[in-house]
């Protein structure tokens, strides 16, 4: 009975040592990976389509971005967009976005040349919006908002340093309250704009096409 107990204890000890070794190896591997993959800095340009806004119209924007890679499977993307949206011919809105996202790669070997890398993303954004009505006498209104966004995308690496990416993300804004509605005067439709009290929640789906080029390393691999 004592022997069995000793064997069990020994098994536990061996298991514990193996566990420690495994943890140590994993830790060492992570450090090696971090050193190898962190610090890559990329610059890029982007075009964005914005749909499902309160305007119920499709907007188009252009902008720029840069990426700083933190680890083998984690990258960050910092962007600025200028989006213009026609509101059913009755008005229009302009959005300026500035924000950042963290990209979580789903592939074991992300950014491999000639292969597609899938990723999930989440982040924050700040937004300035101005809405205009083409109807004379209706004043424009503006709002500031902050947003959270989440989505998914792909990188397609044409070369080791150049990738084309397509991503789709839902952006949820919380900010000052601008109310737009399509009203009628007889048979004539117009866009009414009012600055409402309190805060408002507004979301839209952004689909973005980007081209990025890796400029160099901020740290790690040279």
């Amino acid at each position: 009975m004592v022997k069995v107990h000793k064997v069990l204890k020994l098994k536990h000890l061996v298991f514990f040592i193996n566990f420690l070794l495994f943890t140590f190896i994993c830790n060492a591997q992570t450090k090696k990976d971090s050193a190898s993959y962190g610090g890559q800095f990329s610059l890029g340009m982007r075009n964005t389509l914005s749909v499902f806004t309160d305007a119920q119209s499709v907007g188009m924007g252009s902008g720029g971005e840069f990426r700083i890679r933190l680890d083998k499977l984690i990258n960050t993307e910092w962007f600025a967009d200028y989006i213009s949206t026609d509101i059913q011919g009755l008005g229009y809105r302009r959005d300026a976005h500035i924000g950042w996202s963290v990209l979580f790669y789903l592939s074991k070997n992300p950014l491999t040349v000639g292969k597609v890398t899938f990723y999930l993303l989440a982040g924050h954004c700040f937004d300035y919006t101005k809405v205009y009505s083409v109807y004379p006498g209706v004043a424009s209104a503006q709002r500031w908002s902050s947003a959270v966004q989440g989505g998914m995308g792909i990188h397609w690496n044409l070369t080791k340093k150049l990738d084309i990416s397509l991503l789709s993300q839902y952006m949820l804004h919380l900010g000052t309250n601008v109310i737009t509605s399509i009203d009628n005067i007889g048979s004539y439709q117009y866009l009414s704009i009012t600055q409402g009290p309190g805060l408002s929640r507004e979301g839209h789906l952004l689909t973005t096409l980007t081209v990025n080029y890796e400029i160099g390393n901020l740290w790690g691999r040279k």
Binding site: G44, M45, R46, N47, M60, G61, S62, G63, G64, Y82, I83, S84, T85, D86, G89, G91, Y92, R94, Y132, S133, V134, L158, T159, K161, L162, I164, L209, V211, N212, Y213
Partner: protein, 198 residues
Amino acid sequence: MGKKVSISFMFFMLCGYFAGAQDSTIVHKGLLRTAGTFAFGTMPENNITNAYLTGNIEYYAEKKISVRGDVYYFLNSLKQNNPLLNKNDALYFGAFYHIPTHSGFDPLIGLQPGISYTQMFYNSIEVSPNPVLDVATICPLFSTVVGFNFFGEKWFHIQINVRYTVGEHLTAADETNISELSFNFGLGFNLNVLGKKK
């Protein structure tokens, strides 16, 4: 007809001259090139043709990859009874993929987001019987480019590009689709920035 043949002949003579002097190692990492060109663009939605003075500067970060910025300065529209555009200057910036060849012929395809500074005339019976000048505004643009550079001499090259731009001009007075198919042709200068060929 004879004029067209003469121009085509001159163009092929020029290409032949450059081809004779071609250096297959001109296109390489570290090459910086710039070109000044004329561009003509047609806006199918508005049925007008526009003329631009353009310039671009491009750096080959790799033999096959370059980054390039373009400036378009709007000169005027051709043959129009009612003027539509007063300003349509544009800036583009993006990346290009160059299909490798073993000569100075450098086919390329690229994506260039951009912005335009656009001002239009619009008709408003309430304001004036003549077209009225609207406010100028900035419009986001998406564009794709295909074309080629033809490097002949050490310092010079010919550039021909076709660009399709998607954009919309939005103001309180007017909404106009400014999508455009444009063609540009010109002479460029190139410089080896890295000082060695790779």
